[in-house]
């Protein structure tokens, strides 16, 4: 299935300027398999979303539609074909 990953400005340079990436995921996609697949083509993007243990970085939010994946069971959340996933830096800091 195909999932659209919408990137924040800070990561677009790592995707040759693209605002969104179309990612083909084999089988039933989850956030985890989506990011695994993303990492094979765009490792510099994936490692900014997840650390080397595979955990989502603390101050990065990933939304499926309007829902934060942390409220959907984390990276095991299922994705539908055509889903839009937004990567958005958390509002934090000073």
């Amino acid at each position: 299935m195909t999932v659209t990953v919408r990137l924040p400005g800070a990561l677009r340079d790592l995707a040759d300027g693209a605002r969104a990436l179309e990612v083909e995921v084999a089988g039933q996609a989850t956030i985890r398999t989506l990011l695994d697949t993303l990492g094979t083509r765009w490792p510099a993007i994936e490692r900014r979303i997840r650390d080397e243990t595979g955990a989502l970085r603390q101050h990065v939010n990933v939304f499926v539609g309007e829902m934060n994946v942390r409220d959907l069971g984390g990276q095991d959340a299922d994705l539908a074909d055509g889903a839009e996933v937004h990567v958005i830096p958390a509002v934090s800091g000073g």
């Binding site: 800070a10 990561l11 490792p43 510099a44 490692r47 900014r48 979303i49 650390d51 080397e52 243990t53 955990a55 970085r57 101050h59 990065v60 830096p89 958390a90 934090s92 800091g93």
Partner: protein, 372 residues
């Protein structure tokens, strides 16, 4: 040799790298008194570590940057900061299966000229990393990571990190690291095995103030002429070792305080070191509320304030890596940055100081070198 007054040196340009809580600034000077400043680079990223590697007749800049959103990285530049590179997969990361993630790079240390390409990194969590390609990629030094003490090292206020890496200039099997807390550890077999090396360093905050390890060592510097001699600024306590860290002796007498974070050594003269005291753990302001740099030229037997030109109304602290010498052997420059975002430079070993910049974000690290 320390030279008083205005110092005349051969034509040279000194590059000063200033890592702050919100980016990197670079400054250049031909006389170490007037500076051209550029920055920020890596805006909004913490830069707790940087290095200027001038081995091999070229200058490579290394930066340990940390985005609070996107994680840490080590980047390098071979064109003095015009462009930066980093492997797509990252330069420093724990191997699969370790269930640990690098939070920040606290130290970047090029090895000696005799070991081209070797660069060391210290990270949070406390781990040591070694690069053989000039700092482009690093491998975990497993001997320290798998040390049975590791799980009992406690994080200091800033985190649990290896903040000091001192390879031995003659024997490449010997490396010293320091961490807060944990203290000093040394290897004599190239990193396979590590032993605590804290005899004589007090840990007043523990029930047993003289433990084998667990000390809060803030910074260690190795004498570049007599490499068995080391200087340590502790969380209360200033020490010297004459045996490569096997034992430590207090050299705090003569200082206004034994608390502080950095300690640095002369690039070419033995027994010469500088510290930047703070009053105490519970009162982290400079003595007399004046930024003070103190120098010893006799291995800590005596100390002299070398603070002419430094601000006399100053309430900021100087972090462990925000104080550095440059590499001008006959007339070393010194550079000190504070959490108030100011940086001061001395072209004469501390005899006189002038402002490089003020109002930057909190200064976390400074490094300086004459450009090849």
């Amino acid at each position: 040799m320390l030279v008083s007054g205005w110092v005349h040196t051969a034509a040279m340009t000194v590059l000063l790298a200033i890592g702050t809580r919100k980016g990197l600034w670079l400054a250049r000077s031909d006389d170490r008194r007037s500076w051209q400043l550029e920055g920020p680079q890596f805006p909004m990223q913490e830069v707790p570590s940087c290095a200027i590697d001038t081995r091999g007749g070229r200058a490579r800049l290394l930066v340990g940057a940390k985005s609070w959103h996107w994680g840490p990285g080590v980047l390098h530049s071979d064109d003095l900061g015009v462009t930066w590179s980093e492997p797509e997969a990252g330069a420093v990361k724990f191997p699969e299966g370790e269930d640990a993630a690098v939070k920040a790079i606290w130290q970047l240390k090029p090895d000696t000229a005799d070991r081209p390409g070797v660069v060391w990194a210290g990270s949070e969590p406390s781990a040591l990393w070694r690069s053989t390609d000039g700092g482009e990629t690093f491998s975990l030094v497993r001997g320290l990571w798998e040390h049975p003490h590791r799980l009992t090292w406690e994080p200091g206020f800033g985190g649990q990190a290896v903040h000091t890496v001192l390879p031995h200039p003659v024997d490449d099997a010997r490396v010293l690291v320091a961490m807060s807390t944990g203290g000093v550890y040394v290897t004599e077999d190239g990193g396979e095995s590590w032993n605590p090396s804290n005899t004589g360093i007090k840990a007043y905050f523990l029930p047993d103030p003289w433990p084998e390890y667990g000390q809060c060592v803030h910074k260690v510097a190795r004498d570049l002429v007599e490499p068995e001699r080391l200087f340590a600024q502790n969380h209360h306590g200033v020490y010297r070792s004459d045996d490569g860290g096997k034992s430590w002796t207090s050299i705090a007498d003569g200082l206004p305080s034994d608390f502080g974070f950095p300690v640095v050594v002369h690039p070419a003269a033995p027994n010469t070191a500088w510290v930047v005291p703070l009053v105490a753990d519970g009162h982290r302001f400079p003595p007399d509320n004046a930024l003070q740099v103190w120098r010893t030229a006799d291995g800590g037997e005596s100390w002299t304030s070398t603070s002419s030109g430094l601000p006399e109304s100053y309430f900021a602290a100087v972090m462990r890596d925000a104080f550095t010498p440059d590499d001008v052997a006959d007339a070393p420059g010194l550079y000190v940055g504070g959490r108030d975002g100011s940086v001061y430079a001395s072209p004469d070993g501390g005899d006189s100081w002038s402002e490089v910049v003020r109002h930057l974000p909190d200064v976390l690290c400074v490094r300086a070198a004459s450009l090849p």
